[in-house]
Subunit: 576 residues, 2 copies
């Protein structure tokens, strides 16, 4: 915890550190670290430069001829600034922020801007506080954009309803950069006062406001931007991106697990446009993080698509830093954070070392260990106790009325309207689906049917269901559905594959029901095992058994969705 | 004066305005102003775009098809964002900020960043307050960088001595952007705690710190930048500029009255470097403002030197705005201030109209009148009463001891060491020079001699003498010197050309002794008349009779200078 100090004390403390920095920069004192004979990317002059790079007090102090207490010869390598992810929901990794940091540091990520939208939908502002505490002093600097849409829509039954007043005090936190993706573009454009107030308040705090407006055009786009939305990460094609860029929005080129836009948007990575572009992932699931990497993967892919490496690097570090007013990172220059990524060359792009604030955090894949931040007991308990619902029985899922059938589309999150059904018919691939409200013990259970999921035996349940994270369960019979849902609750959250009222696979997600307390590799193994069990139980191999399911409750994407109040037609805005 | 309102009230007030902006942007309501059929510079996509530009509540709300309450067809013209001067001392115009605004608006300037260094050397923090009040709500938005070096050197006898604590509370003012040019680079590099504290405090307020370090190189430059200095406007050649840019400094390309660096630095205005470059003037004297213009003159000159017009425009508006975190100006896009400059074409570059926040302020050279801001009585009186010294007599200037002779160099501000003298010899062009302390009635009068000024009769006195603005007087006899100095005091400041103990010309500068209360045209006429009278009295035509004189007390430029304590050798740091 920070010591309470006077303003004069604060200045004196900073002065003391600054005097040492100046001494080292001027060559009067040895540097803490010198990267000798460095070839480095200069994001200001847009070229490779050659010099020693001197570090003191965690900052770069100079490029030139320097002696250091520690000297590392980096001839024949290339030194890059640490990478930034401009927009991610950390919860998507399914692990704690500490485990996330361990996963991305070897990939050169030293700063991420997270929107704790998922946990906040479960825990309200306690979710923001939890994530702030869980990321304090991590060797990946985690900055926050405050969730703008909790709940995502008025139809959601989430764990909290946050207006501008509810999140306002967070703007004073030194790691809060602004208001996260304003998904309710309709509300903005049509002057929903509660929605616009959130933007106004963020502006009053001189903070950034990120956008989320796929395909928005013309005067509507003008209205959305004029309201004060400064960026977009939802551009799927070049025309969309250029229209937004021309109107002053920064473009976050997204390439994550669920959505991959780099190939379509790579033409932005040229002299004419790059100043307004940066990279983000939005979400990164465990196996994607482990197998492909993070921002480094986007840079590599961009270079392989023919993008000038210097431009790709700029988009991976400097441009996001400037956008978020993190003006002391994203470049190799005096006064900047000593966050370095050292690679062999641009073609192979093997990351050999990663430094955070001058400390070697990853050496040829071997991570320097670091402790998890302490989280106060109240918050930790609160995060591990987020299920408020009674024991469920098969009776809760039985129902004779005809209900809408959601038509799942392989590899997509859109659905079709597949008619009605009044009973499960696994042979015809008509399964029962339910969403169970789990935040306020309302016993609201929305029932419906789903086609094309493929399950032939048992049930699958998950407490990851966007964006309210109620329990979603699909089954071939009500007994297994009840078992799987109850088991999710017993674990304080998780993913369950069940058959004969026993689990065949379990992925515990005890932090707010959406993240695990275990390391990424363990979570990934359990998850891959659970997927395999789900496939064995019949789930179509073209479907991600849990991710696709987790979108079935997201009542903003056409056509049919399942909510805590039944099957909902997004197009007609009616329950069916 | 602003009404005191609650936070909720502030949000509601801003919300109300925002809802109207959204209504207009979405096309549901007519715009206040539409520039129809505009061709405009898009600083994001770096091209000319074509559309209507709609304005509401002083902001641009959209580009597209719009109807307006007022519609102005701007076909066959080019619409540019309003220009910014990234660094100027407003006092250099010799007029009040209101008169300055009237002079620069027709040239398309809509924002200036001023360093009130001159008036603060006279009035201390009251000088900053005076300038803040004198610029409130002007149609040229005046933003402030706080003077970092008052006095300029420990040898100066200025009107105030300001440490970091003295200026600290100004960082909370909404128009203060940071700490102005840190001229004491030696102090920074050599860890002068008082100097470095100022930088540390500015950083603690998340503010910008401008630099001033001509020719600084290598590890010293690293130390200066690592200390936290983000820009430089003193680059005279390309190598100097690129060395600073490579280390992360923003380069303010200066082209003003006293120093003109555009030609040398024009090669920076290309894709590779422009993102880090902007324009400034540093100082603009009356005739230069009237005859050449302001930032528009730099843009025109850059284009004539072969710079891409879009790049020149970006440096003239957008880049300075981003550097100073004035993120709602310097571009034509939704949410940006409706500050427009409308020109005929890039070749002739005739400014036809200038809009500030959507209001037509200048139409084909005809200015829309506006009131001068009210200044509280205390400050106004204080500004007009800054001379604290006794009546002077010829005896005060008589002296038989040998004193150093300052060798003036035509068209330069450097001087030579021209030996010693113990008497005036106008035939040999050896004149007496004196600096009279005028802030604290110390009766400190520094005496010396000067060569190459050329005066043959009478005396010349001025209360503009950098940076402390004591009275400087040159004469062929002590009686006229005393008369001229006393006359400066009687006028509460000004420039006097005298002969036979009568003024032949007077330029009253009653605001702190460095600015006039009269309009720019009047001041310019008086000044030109005084120059002519000075030339008639013998001053060499290669010398600016008052500007050159005003630098003779600036004890940081080699070789000899006159101070309130005598002739000073800047090189040996000794009085001679």
């Amino acid at each position: 915890m920070a010591v309470i100090e006077s303003y004069a004390g604060k200045i004196n403390r900073k002065l003391n550190k600054k005097l040492r920095i100046i001494d080292v920069a001027a060559g009067r004192e040895k540097a803490d670290l010198v990267l000798k004979n460095a070839t480095y990317v200069n994001v200001f002059s847009n070229e490779l430069c050659h010099d020693d790079i001197a570090v003191a007090e965690g900052l770069i102090v100079g490029m030139g001829q320097y002696d250091g207490i520690v000297e590392v010869d980096v001839s024949d390598q290339i030194v890059l600034p640490g990478f930034l992810d401009a927009h991610i929901h950390l919860e998507s990794s399914l692990v704690s922020p500490t485990e996330f940091a361990k996963a991305v540091l070897p990939h050169g990520t030293t700063t991420v801007i997270t929107d704790p939208h998922e946990i906040t939908n479960v825990m309200g502002t306690d979710g923001i506080d939890y994530m702030l505490q869980a990321t304090e002093d991590l060797p990946v600097d985690v900055r926050f954009m405050l969730p703008s849409c909790v709940p995502s829509t008025p139809l959601d039954e989430s764990g909290a309803i946050l207006d501008y007043r509810a999140i306002d005090s967070f703007y004073d936190h030194p790691r809060v950069q602004g208001l996260a993706e304003m998904m309710n573009s309709y509300g903005v454009i049509h002057n929903d006062k509660e929605v616009v107030s959130k933007i106004v308040a963020a502006q009053a705090h001189h903070k950034k406001i990120d956008g989320h407006a796929p395909g928005l055009q013309g005067n509507k786009l003008n209205a959305y931007i004029a309201a004060g939305v400064y960026s977009d990460h939802e551009c799927c094609d070049l025309d969309d991106a250029i229209a937004k860029l021309q109107r002053g929005q920064f473009i976050m080129i997204r390439d994550g697990t669920a959505a991959r836009n780099l190939e379509a948007l790579a033409p932005l990575l040229c002299d004419k446009y790059v100043e307004r572009c940066m990279f983000c992932t939005d979400d990164k699931h465990p196996n994607d993080l482990l197998e492909k990497g993070h921002i480094d993967y986007i840079v590599k892919k961009a270079i392989s698509l023919g993008v000038d490496p210097i431009i790709a690097i700029k988009a991976a570090c400097h441009n996001a830093a400037r956008y978020f007013l993190l003006n002391n990172r994203g470049a190799i220059a005096p006064g900047y954070l000593a966050d370095f990524v050292i690679i062999d060359d641009f073609r192979s792009f093997n990351i050999q070392q990663v430094y955070k604030k001058g400390v070697l955090m990853c050496d040829h894949g071997v991570l320097t260990d670091f402790p998890a931040p302490e989280i106060e007991e109240y918050l930790s308990k609160r995060a591990h106790d987020t299920f408020r619902l009674k024991h469920l029985t098969a009776e809760d899922f039985r129902d004779a009325r005809p209900r809408g059938v959601i038509g799942m589309v392989p590899n997509e999150i859109v659905t079709t309207d597949a008619g009605y059904s009044d009973h499960i018919d696994a042979e015809q691939d008509i399964l029962k689906i339910a969403v169970i409200e789990r935040h306020r013990n309302t016993h609201h259970i929305g029932l419906g049917y789903i086609k094309n999921y493929g399950l032939k035996r048992g049930a699958v349940a998950t407490s990851i269901s966007h964006d309210s994270h109620n329990i979603i369960v699909v089954g071939t019979n009500e007994e297994d559905m009840a078992y799987a849902a109850n088991r999710v609750v017993e674990l304080n959250g998780g993913i369950i594959v069940a058959e004969g009222e026993r689990s065949t696979a379990e992925v515990p997600l005890a932090i707010a029901g959406i993240m695990s307390d275990e390391p990424l590799v363990v979570v990934n193994e359990k998850l891959e095992d659970a997927k395999e069990k789900a496939f064995t139980a019949g789930v179509s191999r073209g479907v991600d058994p849990f991710m696709t399911l987790s979108f079935m409750a997201l009542n903003v994407i056409p056509t049919l969705r399942i909510t805590t109040r039944g099957v909902f037609d997004v197009v007609s805005q009616q329950y069916v």
